[in-house]
Structure formats: structure tokens, C-alpha cells
Symmetry: C2
Subunit: 225 residues, 2 copies
């Protein structure tokens, strides 16, 4: 893989000078992971930032009795580990791959050195971290204030279709209904029941992991009403 | 108030040069708010950062049917509005005062100019934002994976006593049980019932907003077991 040209198209690489991009690319180590492989655990000390190159990484919290809540799913170009590096070096969740994945590891010292020359990379990180905090706030809102059907509609419209619903649009779930239930803070059975009801009401059609939107207005009403 | 010496002792002011501190202090506008006054709403566009000088600010999300979930409470020295300024300028929640409060407003342009000279202020903000994201992750964990008694124990030990429990320690709630219920994602009646049970089990003693810890071990067992 050409690390340099990959990094140029990520939120971290935005507006960086050519020299900075080269230093960043040279300092990064590529690492490959199997599907379902553990990357770093809640409370572990880290000294690197991670960037997803290929695949999907799940960040989650677990309880002692084995329940799990997904915090976010990260795909190509997305960064994690910032929170641990800028705060107290302790990783705040469990990170594992959902599929075969490739990551770049960048030592925090490199980013700190780059920043002392030109703060652009820090502005990029602040923007990434801000977006992550906004997403966490939305998840809190969803878990605390929305019933499950509303969470499902919200997820389809805003996380999946990025707020551009149209009749016939297809929301492709990159994950199983079991993983979806861990994002939406419920059980796979409840997700299955809610999707079935939406199908019966002729709002969506489900084929495997593809969900076709039949009635945008009804879905939006459910998500925001 | 001496803005300069106040800012020196905040996480934002940490390790800033004297010149930078002076520019920051001069650019800040002080604003006073009544108890329960609205500061900025979910989705509003902002161009300033806010810092609490005196009082308490509540950040929350609300549903159409009037339910409310508190995201965090912010006291003296704490910053908000970063998320909106570094992302898309849209404030991600509702901010209001819980008591008579004084805030400092700092234009984002000033922070951006300061950062171009010396990135220290950006490192400070990354650290603040990282801590905020970690807190949000803990709240998600609490809402999704913990029963209410565990949430209460967790709140007392980690948010209030900062993980330094000792027999006889007093957790002073700066807020009413009604406000506490909005943090812990439940009803005031449930909070009242849980506290009563902890009193009956001789784990805590409650007098108004003061909660005296009688049995640390039992409380820790409840929080983490």
C-alpha cells in the first residue's frame, strides 16, 4: 500500500505540507489483523495512535456479566487512540476488528514533533475528536431518550444514509443484526422484531444486510417525531 | 475578577507563556447568568468558546416529549463549545446554568491565532476534549450496561469522590436528586428508592445533599462487582 497517498485523503492528513505528510507516512507501521481480533483493551496503556486502512474496528465497553455496548464503528481513514494519548495514556474502551483489517500505528511522539513545527495536524485532531464527542452525545441521547424503533430509524437515516433518504435508497448494514443490537443498546431479538414491524408497515424491505427504504417520510417521522 | 490569574489555574491556561495568557485574558468577555438561564441551544451556531468562572452549567439533550438526559455538569475552570467550534459550528446540546453563574466568552479566532504562534493551547484543548470523550464513554457504559443501584454507587465513588473513598467521607451533591436522576438516566423516584435501600443496608447516610459513606467496601463492590 502507498501509505503517503492513503494518508493524504484522510481527515488527519488534510492540509498538511508535503514534508509533514512524508514524515507521518515514514513513521507509520502497518499491522494486519484477522476478523474478530483483539487490538487493545479497556485500561491498557498505549503510546501509538491507530488509523484504520482497511476493514472495520469496533470500540466497545463490556460489563462483568458479558454484556457489551458498542461505542462506535471505525472504517478506512478513521483514527483512534487519541483520547488515550492526550489524556492519561490509558485506552478507554475495547478495540477489536469486525473483519480482516489493516491498521497504521503512528507513535505519539511523531505527532507531537510535527505539531511543534506546524499546528495544522492538531487542528485536524481537534476536529476529529470533536466529531467523535458529538457522536457519543447522540448515542447517549439515543440510549436514554429514544425507544428502540426510533433508534433503528435514526440509525438507518443518520448513521447509514447520512441524512439523505430517498425512496428506494438502500441502507447497507456493514454488520450483522447481532452487532447492530450492540450499537443500539438492545437485543438481537428486539432488532429483528422492530425490522419485521417496519416491513409489515411497508416502510422498509429487508434482504440480508440490505435494507431498502420504501417510505422515507414514515421513517423520518419515526426518527424525529 | 482578575481574569488573568483565574485563567492561569485552568486546564486551558496550563503552561501558556505570559504573553499568550495576556492576549487570552484581554480577549475574554465576562457574562453573568441567573440560575436556570438558557445559555446556548442544541443546533445553534456559535463562534465563541465558553469557560465557567463561577457556578454550574448543565449540558443536556432533550426529547420531543420533554424527557431530558444530562450529558455533564461543568464547574469553575471548565470549558465548553470546543466541539462546535472545531467541528461544524453547531452546538451539540443544550447548555443552561443550574445556579447563578459567571462565564467567560473567548472568540475562536483568538484561540486560532494563539495556536499559530505556539501550539500549547491546542494540546491543552486536546487533553480537555479527550477527557470529555472518556466521560461520555463512561456515561454510555453506565446507561447501557449498569442497573440503577450500580450507576448510583459508580457516580458517588468516581464522579463525586474521584475514586478516593474512605469511611466517613462525605459526597456533597451539588445538585438535587431530580437533577441526579437526569444524569443517571432514571426517575427521581428510583433514585430516592435506591438511596433509601443503601441507607437501610448501612452503606451510606443521607442528610439533604450530603451523603456520608459508612461502608466503602460495600459501595465499591456495588459499583464494580
Amino acid at each position: 500500500m502507498d501509505t503517503l497517498s492513503f494518508l493524504q485523503n484522510t481527515p488527519l492528513g488534510k492540509s498538511l505540507s508535503e514534508t509533514q505528510m512524508e514524515i507521518l507516512a515514514k513513521s507509520a507501521t502497518e499491522k494486519k489483523y484477522r476478523a474478530g481480533q483483539f487490538i487493545v483493551g479497556d485500561g491498557h496503556e498505549i503510546r501509538d495512535f491507530y488509523m484504520v486502512v482497511k476493514g472495520t474496528v469496533k470500540m466497545s465497553k463490556s460489563s462483568h456479566d458479558g454484556k457489551e455496548q458498542t461505542l462506535c464503528l471505525l472504517g478506512p481513514g478513521q483514527l483512534f487512540g487519541m483520547c488515550a494519548v492526550f489524556s492519561d495514556c490509558l485506552f478507554p474502551a475495547n478495540a477489536m476488528t469486525l473483519e480482516k483489517s489493516t491498521l497504521l500505528l503512528v507513535p505519539d511522539t511523531v505527532l507531537k514533533d510535527l505539531a511543534r513545527e506546524d499546528p495544522t495536524i492538531l487542528f485536524n485532531m481537534l476536529s476529529i475528536l470533536s466529531d467523535r464527542l458529538k457522536e457519543a452525545m447522540l448515542l447517549i441521547e439515543s440510549l436514554s431518550l429514544m425507544e428502540v424503533p426510533k433508534r433503528v430509524a435514526y440509525f438507518l437515516l443518520f448513521s447509514n444514509l447520512k441524512n439523505t433518504c430517498s425512496e428506494g435508497a438502500i441502507a447497507k448494514l456493514a454488520i450483522s443484526q447481532r452487532e447492530l443490537s450492540k450499537i443500539l443498546g438492545t437485543t438481537p431479538e428486539t432488532i429483528s422484531r422492530v425490522l419485521k414491524k417496519l416491513v409489515e408497515e411497508n416502510i422498509i424491505r429487508v434482504r440480508g444486510r440490505s435494507i431498502r427504504i420504501i417510505n422515507c417520510e414514515a421513517l423520518e417521522e419515526l426518527a424525529t417525531g
